[in-house]
Symmetry: C2
Subunit: 222 residues, 2 copies
């Protein structure tokens, strides 16, 4: 009989055929389990059943592999937000629907961070100076056009369209909203809120997301 051993992928042909993807997903699994520091080129090669050297045919080195994993993680985050958006029905009232969408992507963001802390950290991990510099120069605007960001921008536009948010608040609104959600996620994962019991944590998340909306939608107090 011919059992395929779990975990290892025994190759049949000399050429793998899809080594770049295989390595990336092995490395992504490591990031899922242990965050960006856990991504080890040699072990990814081992898991795929290939010599470490073979990886250099597809990646310029360790940093390049991590970069691929980072992009995977960003896509997963966006997918989680999208899934949260699709999890509840659209509402007929346009204002309510705009609010629903805004909340859903916020909840999706936080949920992903809590469910996949390793990937979430990897999505926002920092590279060595050189790589970061190159990456920064690559994008003209100075603001990353990640899918997650585009979803946020769209949700904010909708808040303006339906008249909930004043247009003069639109600029920098994504920075504000993203900062709040991101900071909440970080404090919950690594920071002083990591010890919060589950029920308090869920309350804090709900309240914080409400406050973000208030900050965007509100009138200035008396």
């Amino acid at each position: 009989m011919n059992f395929v051993r779990a975990g290892k992928t025994p190759r049949t042909s000399y050429h793998h055929g899809d080594l770049a993807n295989a390595l990336t997903s092995a490395a992504t699994q490591m990031a899922r389990d242990g965050g960006p520091e856990a991504v080890v080129l040699r072990e990814a090669a081992r898991k795929v059943g290939v010599s470490a050297t073979a990886a250099y045919r597809h990646f310029s080195g360790h940093g390049d592999l991590i970069h691929a994993v980072k992009e995977c993680a960003q896509e997963d985050l966006a997918a989680a937000m999208q899934a949260e958006l699709s999890a509840t029905r659209p509402l007929s009232d346009p204002k309510a629907e705009a609010v629903r969408r805004f909340n859903a992507i916020g909840v999706g963001y936080i949920r992903f961070a809590l469910a996949e802390p390793g990937l979430f950290r990897t999505a926002f991990t920092r590279f060595d100076r050189a790589a970061a510099q190159a990456e920064a120069e690559a994008k003209a605007t100075g603001m990353a056009m990640s899918p997650a960001f585009l979803m946020l921008a769209e949700a904010l536009d909708r808040l303006v369209e339906v008249g909930l948010m004043s247009p003069d608040r639109r600029p920098d609104a994504e920075i504000f909203a993203w900062s709040c959600a991101h900071g909440l996620a970080m404090l919950l994962l690594d920071g002083p809120l990591s010890a919060l019991p589950d029920d308090l944590r869920d309350n804090a998340i709900r309240h914080t997301l409400n406050r973000i909306l208030d900050g965007l939608v509100s009138h200035r107090g008396p």
Copy 2:
């Protein structure tokens, strides 16, 4: 003549006298330059002019040393916030003064993150599971009572006292405010906002801090 060589501290006596502090500050300097990953026990010992083994008289190991550095970094952060608070005069109008204080500590937080990214990251660095667990259990409340946190809480109390913030918004207000500021700092340092030109960045900071205040102080929109 008897020049003391810069960088190295040539010991005169066999016993150092203050080795724990000397190692901590050498290690803190490394964190300042390169973040938490740059803290290397052996190099700290080298800088102080002592064998690596000597460090084990004062720290249980590498993790313990990093922990000491982390506490230093947290104190530095609080000091920076306090300094920003003292940088401008108190205002006579209580409401204006409450707002001034709130803004000052927010600005202090962000300024510190931008001025000392290595220390800022170290202040919020995560330990291995075991250490984090122990730390979490150590604090009963589940919320760290760092000096920075206490300053924030006090500023929020003051906003309520002077009548700017409704008391029913007080709970979880620190989580909201801290999340926003922290997220902004992280996105500016490591994230998609790291490539923002200086002028746009300063604008974004100002706007975001204003929005935080709005979220706390506002009425719900129509």
